[in-house]
């Protein structure tokens, strides 16, 4: 994909969802079936090679996006809709007020509705946003947001259409004086374009906001790995949001707002030179609008001043004034090496939006009644040129948690709960590698620690490296692993102090009772052996008790 198109296309007035309009051929390899005996010429093959639309690719590879099982499909759909709603509210500076309703149509079919109090979407943009399966601009910009790939809600809409044939329904209103619009949208999978089935103006009470409804083939399960758990955890990581959840059973859960302020808005940054690979660098060199190499380096990257740009060019043996479009591969490689060899300031890190220790604790307290809480929010760090930060929190000693089972680990990336592929995740690996025994927590080799504990880890980054497109596990970059470990050690130390204090008290109590229990027996034995009087025996016991109690205080 050309770099020029990576520029964000401001799709709508509200900034609700930005997507680039590309319908370029998908890079994935078309399937080529070659009979074993008949030899085909290149020309023959060429006839069979054709473009594949993004939507067609998706229909064949739905598992890549988290639609591999009916249970997961439900969760993914809810997740996409909720992510969008939260992102929209935050970008417009509105405290989110969300309504999530899941209605059971049959055992294998559900209708999902997500409604927000966001800014709404202008009428003309609605079909494109929900009816075109596209690569979003979030993929190319570097900014902490829930969605990264930007495939989003339209993929869920396509899944619904594939499994139930029902269109996606959208109601949106952008202000008090404006009418609300209701659309039924289908996707033409061959053309990857929206087809508007119905379009009315409707009566709608909210002054602004958006409601999305989808009907999909799915199954609903209760528990931590289901929508129930997702909603609960989303509330923990988004204390500024008010969420109302109506489960398929009809049960209504209100998750009240804990923080009355929006989190600090994250900022977009340019890529840091140390995080750029040679191929990308080549492409950027050719696509840039800068007049020369010096300008290119200074304008396309963060932390590169004119002086630093000149330094890089000199190290690479190139002229700062050369035009970049004509740069040969060798020159690009020299430039790449020069960039790696140049000391650069770390990327700006104040662009991230952490949850913060206080709100982490608040979220946990709301979730569970425990004897001890601790939280830490690390300062930002960098992996491959991308700033990121890690936060961790624990709640220990809750009655409803079993003492002899692995701790409950809750993972978040950019405030989104990760419910699947726990064992493949860098967070889990770091938790396992941390030595919890030194904090007084049981742990067998290569396993999660045991105990009545909830362990929560949040990774915020302009670009969270997931192991797959379905965004379920964070890749194990050493820098990320290290930061997670440091965060865990930080909360672990606090927990260790608490546990040891408890153990010391129990120990002292035990020893006190030891003295009470066993000293009389020393008296009895001495009396039996030495035939001393009861009075002498009492004296021995009293003296010994006194001696031992004094020795303990020393």
């Amino acid at each position: 994909m050309a770099h020029a198109q990576m520029k964000r296309k401001s799709a709508d007035a509200t900034g609700r969802k930005r997507k680039s309009g590309s319908t370029e051929p998908e890079a994935a390899a078309p399937s080529k079936k070659q009979p074993k005996i008949v030899r085909l010429t290149a020309t023959d093959l060429a006839e069979k090679q054709r473009e594949i639309s993004v939507s067609e690719f998706f229909t064949k590879n739905r598992h890549l996006l988290g639609f591999d099982s009916p249970a997961k499909a439900l969760l993914t759909t809810v997740k996409e809709a909720v992510d969008n709603a939260l992102d929209a509210c935050e970008e417009a500076g509105i405290l989110p007020d969300l309504l999530l309703e899941i209605q059971e149509i049959s055992e294998t079919r559900y209708r999902i509705a997500v409604q927000d109090n966001g800014p709404g979407i202008v009428k003309a943009q609605i079909p494109k946003i929900f009816g075109q399966l596209l690569y979003g601009s979030k993929f190319h910009r570097l900014r902490q947001s829930r969605g990264q790939q930007g495939i989003g809600i339209s993929a869920a809409g396509m899944y619904g259409q594939l499994t139930t044939g029902k269109p996606i329904t959208v109601i949106s209103r952008i202000g008090a004086g404006k009418p609300a619009h209701k659309f039924d949208i289908q996707i033409d999978t061959r053309r990857n374009a929206p087809v508007v089935v119905a379009d009315h103006e409707v009566e709608w009470t909210p002054q602004h906001g958006t409601r999305v409804e989808l009907e999909i083939e799915a199954t609903y399960k209760k528990g931590r790995h289901s929508v129930d758990g997702y909603v609960e955890q989303t509330a923990m990581a988004n204390p500024h949001a008010q969420i109302t959840y109506v489960a398929p059973t009809g049960e209504r859960t209100e998750l009240p707002r804990v923080a009355n302020e929006l989190p600090k808005p994250p900022q977009e940054i340019k890529p840091h030179p140390h995080g750029v690979e040679l191929g990308i660098l080549l492409k950027m060199l050719h696509d840039t609008k800068a007049r020369n190499l010096r300008g290119f380096l200074a304008s396309e990257f963060s932390r590169v001043s004119a002086a630093v740009a000149e330094e890089i060019a000199t190290t690479a043996g190139l002229s700062g004034g050369m035009t970049t479009q004509k740069a040969a591969r060798e020159q690009a490689e020299a430039l790449y090496k020069a960039i790696q060899a140049t000391k650069l300031m770390a990327p700006p890190s104040n662009v991230l939006s952490p949850i913060g220790e206080e709100l982490l604790l608040e979220g946990l307290r709301k979730q569970i009644d425990a004897r001890f809480y601790a939280a830490t929010s690390r300062s930002p760090s960098v992996y491959r040129g991308n700033p990121f930060l890690v936060e961790a929190a624990i709640a220990f000693g809750a009655e409803q948690l079993p003492a002899d089972e692995p701790v409950t680990l809750i993972r978040f990336a950019n405030r989104v709960p990760l419910l699947y592929q726990q064992s493949a995740c860098a967070v889990t690996k770091s938790v396992i590698q941390t030595n919890w025994k030194s904090y007084g927590i049981q742990q067998s080799r290569g396993a999660l620690p045991l105990g009545p504990m909830i362990l929560m880890v949040h990774i915020a980054s302009v670009w969270v490296p997931f192991t797959s497109e379905s965004k379920e596990a964070v890749a194990s970059y050493p820098e990320i692993m290290k930061e997670i470990r440091l965060a865990l050690q930080d909360v672990g130390r606090k927990l260790g102090i608490f546990i040891r204090r408890g153990m010391r008290e129990a120990d002292a109590e035990k020893k006190r009772s030891y003295i009470e229990k066993y000293i009389p027996h020393i008296g009895i034995a001495l009396q039996e052996i030495l035939s001393i009087s009861d009075k002498e025996k009492e004296k021995v016991c009293a003296t010994l008790k006194d001696t031992l109690e004094r020795s303990r205080k020393l």
Partner: protein
């Protein structure tokens, strides 16, 4: 064997504890360390002697429970000795059930405390009034044991040739026994099965010997019985066990020179004149015996013996034999001789071996 009364020793120790307490000090007891690391091999006398290392148990908050239990065990011992009674280890454990919080929860706990007390006074547990449950061992052959009738105190002559296919059972206390025999040697056997075979076919008649079955690691009574018998009758002792690290380093070594655990009394509970008849590693080759591979635990035991056991360090032929066994990587049981015929052991193996006692391993 020293026959000093243990009661004054107990009183002396208890008095020291009492005085220390009244001086507002924390009392302590000094126990000799009972392990192979704290023994030395006495070449001339031929047994493991305990070295001076002691562990001191000071009365602190942490040790108050064990300390109380040790003192109560001492008091129990004093009562037993004074009333001329005795208690088995199991009985002593049940007596402790009257001690409220100081009672033992498992017999292993009371056994350990008993062993500590025994070592503290450097006496045999029988002198403390405690007796083991274990069986002493079986005897058959040309031997008369002179014992006393428990009721009348009159001498009883027990003829060990008159037990038919059964055997005389070694009692727990053997100090007062006397012996009459014309046997040429004592053959000490590891397994009851091999003992049975030799008794049934009257091997002791043919070879004019005394047969003793140990049934695994020999009990203290068994070792003491053979020691007294061999000393008083001046006859050689040959040991016949499995050809594996357990038979050699645990059974034979304990039999001959004592153990680390009973280091304080090895002097009396060992049979230094014992010689190793078989099965030697060389026998496995010479007699083409069927074998089993050495298990990990066997290899570990053998390595440990060569490296840490003063007995093997002192006897080069033994160190060599162990190395040989390890390099062969196999073990052979006594019963393996049955591969050449059930009575091969009596008709061929034992006669051939006994013809050359000078070839026995030390």
């Amino acid at each position: 064997m020293s026959d000093t009364n243990v009661v004054p020793k107990i009183k002396k120790e208890a008095k020291a504890v009492e005085e220390s307490i009244l001086k507002k000090k924390t009392p302590s007891l000094k126990f000799p360390i009972r392990s192979l690391a704290n023994v030395r091999y006495l070449e001339k006398e031929g047994y493991f002697e305990i070295r001076g290392k002691k562990k001191e148990r000071t009365l602190t908050v942490n040790t108050v429970k064990t300390f109380a239990q040790t003192l109560r065990m001492m008091a129990l011992s004093k009562t037993l000795v004074e009333t001329d009674d005795m208690a088995t280890k199991r009985e002593a454990y049940y007596v402790s059930k009257n001690w409220d919080d100081a009672r033992f929860l498992e017999q292993t706990e009371s056994d350990t405390v008993m062993d500590d007390v025994e070592a503290l006074f450097e006496v045999n547990r029988e002198q403390l009034g405690f007796v083991p449950e274990e069986k002493g061992g079986d005897v058959a052959g040309t031997l008369v044991v002179v014992d006393k009738d428990p009721d009348t105190g009159k001498s009883i002559r027990i003829d060990c040739t008159k037990f038919g296919s059964g055997a005389y059972s070694i009692p727990i206390s053997v100090e007062d026994l006397k012996f009459e025999t014309k046997a040429k040697f004592i053959l000490v056997i590891e397994t009851a099965g091999m003992f049975q075979r030799l008794v049934k076919h009257g091997y002791w008649k043919k070879a004019n010997c005394i047969l003793v079955s140990m049934g695994g690691v020999p009990t203290r009574a068994c070792r003491r019985f053979i020691r007294r018998l061999a000393d008083s009758m001046k006859i050689p002792v040959y040991v016949f066990v499995d050809g594996d690290p357990y038979g050699i380093s645990n059974i034979y070594r304990t039999f001959k020179v004592g153990s680390g655990n009973a280091a304080h009394i090895n002097e009396f509970f060992c049979v230094p004149q014992a010689r190793f008849l078989g099965i030697t590693p060389q026998d496995i080759i010479d007699y083409k015996l069927p074998t089993h591979p050495l298990k990990d635990v066997d290899v570990k035991r053998a390595k440990d013996a060569v490296k840490n056991d003063p007995f093997f360090q002192h006897h080069k032929p033994w160190a060599k034999a162990m190395e040989q066994l390890m390099s062969m990587g196999v073990r052979a049981e006594q019963q393996a001789l049955a591969a050449h015929g059930l009575n091969y052991v009596m008709d061929t193996y034992l006669p051939e071996k006994i013809a050359h006692p000078e070839r026995f391993l030390p």
